[in-house]
Subunit: 311 residues, 2 copies
């Protein structure tokens, strides 16, 4: 038994287009309908054959659905919720994929009739690429999907959405929305903000040319450039929608950085060594938890063609 | 013609043991001698058959060499230079692989007789793993190796060492030592310090358990844990030996972070968006320069066995 038979996805970015591909592969009999506000993106999704139907309005996309997933930048949630409210069938479950859950839940609750069927979700998965061409069906496999239903949510809707994500290969976790936002501020939002910052800083040091920054990026910097290549609209929205939690963990980060800075200034090698030993242990636990591979990644294989081109 | 025929490597960590493997593969006729201060590490290198000879003292390792490479943590350079000075053949070229060059050059110049043959070097390559088992012959392929000879250095020694690194697959660049230290402070030392900081911060937020941090690390955090898993001794030494440049770029980073923090607090979405767009461009240039692959890395393949274990 399929958890849903008529699924509508609004937004064809990396997540929306990966969802369409994953549903097509894992739940073949589902009828897939899609809408994106950008006509060019709709045309591209059509060319990629991602959906059974692509409609010209959000309302037309949802009017026959039993599951509607908003896969739009977080700050667009409110407008899309208003757009679809009148056309939503009463029995349709409404969800999203946003990286911030508390604000999103508010926007959905304020605008969607019958809030019992609202089950916000956050698949903790992604790449640094964007758009309908960047998606792939395996994106959610062995990744966590966090559902943050309100107390008033219909337990049947929660269970059906859980099953939907399990079918796509995800592990499902239920969490309080506010707690989700603190956890993700730590594990995702702060890392992205720091990466965006450092890539900017590196470009602005007068003594160092930008081509030097690029040339010697294998010493650590290139990993930050990958994270800092993520979708600008998505991340602007995340920081604004999760402002309180982000500012809180950022304050803690700054204090910790100041302590390390002070240790460097005063030649406190013991303090530095002890700190660096602890963080190494965290890495071991990430690998043990199956959230990354142990294969060394700094020494990436030389890009094809480059070694050959040399003398 | 081989640039050197009797190469001695002091220190069997990731870099030293990779060097031994790379020399063995690319310059078969070179006689390879090694010494490590740790008897257990020497035994392990012996079991791995990394060298033709492993000696019981640094002096014995260098007495017949025409190239001596110190592959030790930066702060150990001075002691090792003193240890080998008396036994060094006059014609031997002396080099190192340290991530900091100005302080290292000083220690070598003060202790090695005939300073004209001193050619400090920094292969910009590495992984997050350490020790003789972590090394591999391909580590230096298509990576930069920066030489920072002083004005007094013998041009023939510089050219021979350049050729040595090119044989190992590296691109060689000559740079002023002080400039090297600023460039690397930006592209490598600051990124490592930030990664070490953020991994510590994440472990200390009271509302979030450590297992939650690990579980949801795919959202960006896991990339920092990889960098923060690097060798603690090596990095303590780097920050202390390159203190001035590191503190300078750290100050700039903090200013930039404060500006982004302020934009979040005051809902300045335009400022955030513009910043995030610029950093994306930097990523494109890193890929164009062959310093990383364009393959999306956030969506790492699910670890083998994990998907199978699920229902």
């Amino acid at each position: 038994m399929l958890p849903f038979s008529r699924v509508t996805i609004i937004g064809f970015g990396l997540i929306g287009s990966s969802l369409a591909r994953a549903v097509r592969r894992e739940m073949r009999d589902v009828r897939l309908t899609g809408y994106d506000a950008d006509a060019e993106v709709r045309a591209r999704a059509d060319a990629l054959n991602l959906f059974d139907d692509i409609t010209d309005s959000a309302g037309a996309a949802v009017c026959d659905a039993d599951l509607v997933i908003l896969a739009v930048p977080v700050q667009a949630t409110e407008a899309v919720a208003k757009e679809i409210a009148a056309d939503l069938p009463d029995e349709a479950v409404v969800s999203d994929v946003g990286s911030v859950k508390n604000r999103v839940a508010g926007w959905l609750n304020d605008n969607i009739p019958h809030p019992g069927r609202i089950v916000p979700a956050h698949p903790v998965a992604g790449t640094e690429n964007s758009g309908p061409d960047a998606g792939f069906a395996e994106l959610f496999q062995s990744r966590w999907c966090i559902l943050t239903p309100a107390d008033a949510a219909d337990p049947v809707a929660v269970e059906r959405l859980s099953e939907f994500w399990r079918r796509l290969g995800s592990d499902v976790e239920i969490m309080d929305a506010a707690h989700h936002d603190i956890v993700l501020a730590v594990t995702s939002h702060l890392p992205h903000l720091i990466a965006y910052t450092i890539v900017g800083t590196a470009s602005d040091v007068e003594e160092v040319t930008n081509s030097e920054v690029i040339k010697y990026s294998a010493g650590g910097f290139r990993d930050f450039t990958r994270i800092a290549a993520s979708n600008p609209t998505m991340w602007r929205d995340v920081f604004l929608a999760n402002k309180d939690a982000v500012l809180d963990v950022l304050q803690r980060f700054t204090e910790d950085l100041t302590a390390l800075q002070r240790a460097i200034r005063w030649d406190d090698g013991d303090m530095l060594f002890k700190h660096f030993e602890t963080t190494r242990e965290t890495r071991r636990r990430v690998i043990d938890a199956g959230q990354d591979t142990a294969a060394p990644d700094f020494g990436r294989s030389p890009p094809k063609g480059r070694a050959d081109a040399e003398d």
